[in-house]
């Protein structure tokens, strides 16, 4: 791995950026697999009420502990005879719900703060004290506090996860804003007398969009894992409503008797987060091949 001064090697002219990004994504078979998995998971979650073979909360004690492959229970049933596949489909709803809600929360708060921190020197220090403060409360501790004050629920879990993700959003948007602010076209707009809000909204935000999208694609799987953890601990969705996390905590009691009930929901979470992470990674690589190649 010899290293040389490559600055002397001229670079080729760039074709349209958007087309190139799509082309790079589609050239990567792993990325396509990730997109397919996400599409299937989203469809299963959205259309769960129509697609699921059983009511997710319906108990059939006479059909408890049916192993996978049993007629009517493709992925088996749990201790109360509830269908694992149906519960996973509804659990995916909760996962995606929390994933999107949490990331939306973090973006709604984090993007404006990040823009301001990068753009206005005066409040940069103030905002960085705020991020330090939020960082001092790990998401689980935030969730514990929120559950203590407002009670445990899916919404509160999403808010706790979203708050914990705010510092990451601020940091990324801030550094992108700093970078863009120093570029000629932004400087030119400022010289032309454009107002701060105009410069931020019309010049900086659209150009920062790609890093925000990439941040969102890595934040969603993190939020999904967070939801699973909180629900597992009983700090998220309340039974009997299914979530992949609560399914695991139920299954813990009878795992040696019906291991499928513990294996399947975990595999579902893993596939979902893995797909998000793969798509996020390949999107980042496609947007900035240099950064990934370095």
């Amino acid at each position: 791995m010899a290293v040389a001064d490559l600055s002397t090697i001229p670079s080729a002219p760039v074709t349209s950026r958007g087309r190139k990004v799509v082309r790079r994504m589609l050239r990567n078979p792993l990325a396509i697999a990730g997109i397919v998995v996400l599409a299937i998971a989203t469809a299963a979650a959205v259309f769960a009420p129509w697609l699921s073979p059983h009511e997710p909360t319906l108990t059939h004690l006479d059909r408890a502990f049916a192993p996978p492959g049993t007629a009517g229970h493709v992925l088996g049933s749990d201790d109360l005879g509830r269908d694992v596949l149906s519960r996973i489909m509804f659990g995916l709803r909760a996962s995606l719900h929390v994933g999107l809600l949490a990331v939306a929360t973090s973006l709604v708060v984090g993007v404006p703060l990040g823009l301001m921190a990068g753009y206005f020197r005066a409040i940069d220090a103030l905002i960085s004290r705020f991020t330090d403060l939020v960082l001092a409360f790990p998401f689980l501790i935030l969730a514990v506090g929120l559950a203590a004050i407002r009670g445990a629920s899916l919404g509160n879990a999403a808010i706790a996860i979203g708050i914990a993700q705010i510092p990451g959003v601020i940091r990324i948007v801030r550094s992108e804003t700093l970078r863009l602010k120093s570029l000629d076209f932004v400087a030119a707009a400022i010289v032309d007398g454009a107002g701060d809000a105009w410069v931020l909204g019309r010049h900086i935000l659209p150009n920062a969009a790609s890093v925000i999208i990439v941040q969102a694609t890595v934040a969603i799987p993190a939020a999904i894992l967070g939801e699973a953890v909180l629900s597992f601990l009983g700090l998220g969705i309340q039974p009997p409503a299914p979530s992949l996390g609560t399914m695991l905590s139920d299954a813990q009691q009878f795992a040696s008797r019906a291991p499928w009930a513990a294996v399947m929901p975990g595999v579902a979470i893993m596939l979902l987060t893995l797909a998000f992470n793969i798509v996020g990674d390949s999107l980042r690589d496609a947007l900035d091949p240099k950064a990934s190649r370095r």
Binding site: L135, A136, A148, I149, F232
Partner: protein, 317 residues
């Protein structure tokens, strides 16, 4: 140097003060009468009055805050409304378990993460990089607690390799203690290892494309010196800060891991307190976590300035 340290110390103190205010106000934001919450099941007027007295709930917020801070500073965090045991003594029996678990997990994560990260950067474009990247992606995507469940199910219960749950203090039985903690530490360490691996890989790639690496190669140094000494030394500076920032994730992970393996640590204390609505304990848990996070990140920054001569000397000049 001195100026940098004082500035950093000042920032930490401000953050700590803000965190304390947040915790203090959090308890006051409880729905209804905080005295009712603090009293738990015991709701006769007499004990409510005693609680109001004890926590000074009839005083102004400012006075209450001062009381709260001065008690906390003297190591008085109240007592559990369930058991009546002092919160500090509960913490002092739970924390060593969690600290040992976390330290072992960091060790696992550092060894796996730095090793795999270096291999991925050096073996660029070869099967080894592909494998290391795939493992890291998996480590980021697998829910740790599920991995823990699977490990218990297949390694402990089915094969009997490790105890499925429980804990023995280190000083009464060191071997048994490690035997109980190996599996939880591995489980807790994998997620962190994935983060460290990715960071090590990217900062190693940065370092390997730096001019000084070209110099080291032009000097005819063997790869072991170029990679292990010149590149790694520079990358680790970045990796250490990342570990500090991952501490929050580590604390969250420790709570879940302890829950799964039934370890009598900080995590169990936290979860039990939430379900028993044991507000003094919750308040203490949140405050202790925030303080630990702030202090450890301050220490990481100080360590950083010891390792990186550029920071160390700039201040002295």
């Amino acid at each position: 140097m001195k100026r940098y340290l004082l500035g950093r110390l000042w920032q930490s103190l401000v953050t700590l003060l803000l965190a304390t205010i947040v915790v203090f106000l959090g308890v006051r934001a409880l729905p209804g009468d905080p005295a009712l919450a603090l009293a738990g099941e015991d709701r006769d007027p007499e004990s409510l009055r005693a609680i109001r007295e004890q926590y000074g709930l009839d005083d102004s917020l400012l006075v209450q805050f001062w009381q709260f801070v001065s008690h906390a500073a003297r190591g008085d965090l109240g007592s559990s409304i369930r058991t009546g045991e002092s919160v500090v003594s509960m913490l002092s029996s739970a924390l060593p378990v969690t600290i040992e678990l976390s330290a072992l997990a960091i060790l696992v994560a550092a060894v796996l993460g730095v090793g795999a990260g270096v291999i991925a950067a050096v073996r660029r474009g070869r099967p080894a990089e592909w494998a290391a990247n795939a493992l890291a992606l998996l480590g980021l995507s697998v829910p740790n607690f599920w991995l823990g469940l699977m490990a218990i199910l297949y390694l402990s219960v089915a094969l009997g390799l490790f105890p499925a749950s429980g804990f023995v203090p280190f000083f009464s039985d060191p071997i048994g203690n490690l035997h109980h903690l190996v599996l939880p530490a591995l489980i807790l360490g994998t997620g962190l290892a994935a983060v460290i691996m990715r960071q090590t890989r990217s900062s190693m790639l940065d370092a390997l494309s730096a001019d000084y690496i070209r110099t080291a190669e032009a000097k005819g140094l063997p790869p072991r010196a170029v990679i292990g000494r010149h590149a790694l030394r520079n990358s680790l500076i970045v990796v250490i800060t990342i570990v500090g920032l991952q501490l929050g994730a580590l604390i969250s992970g420790a709570v879940v891991t302890e829950r799964i393996f039934a370890l009598p640590g900080f995590g169990k204390l936290t979860v039990d307190a939430v379900f028993q609505r044991d507000y003094p304990v919750i308040q203490a848990v949140v405050l202790v976590t925030a303080t630990a996070y702030i202090v450890i990140n301050l220490l990481v920054d100080l360590l950083y300035s010891v390792i990186d001569p550029r920071i160390r000397v700039r201040g002295e000049a």
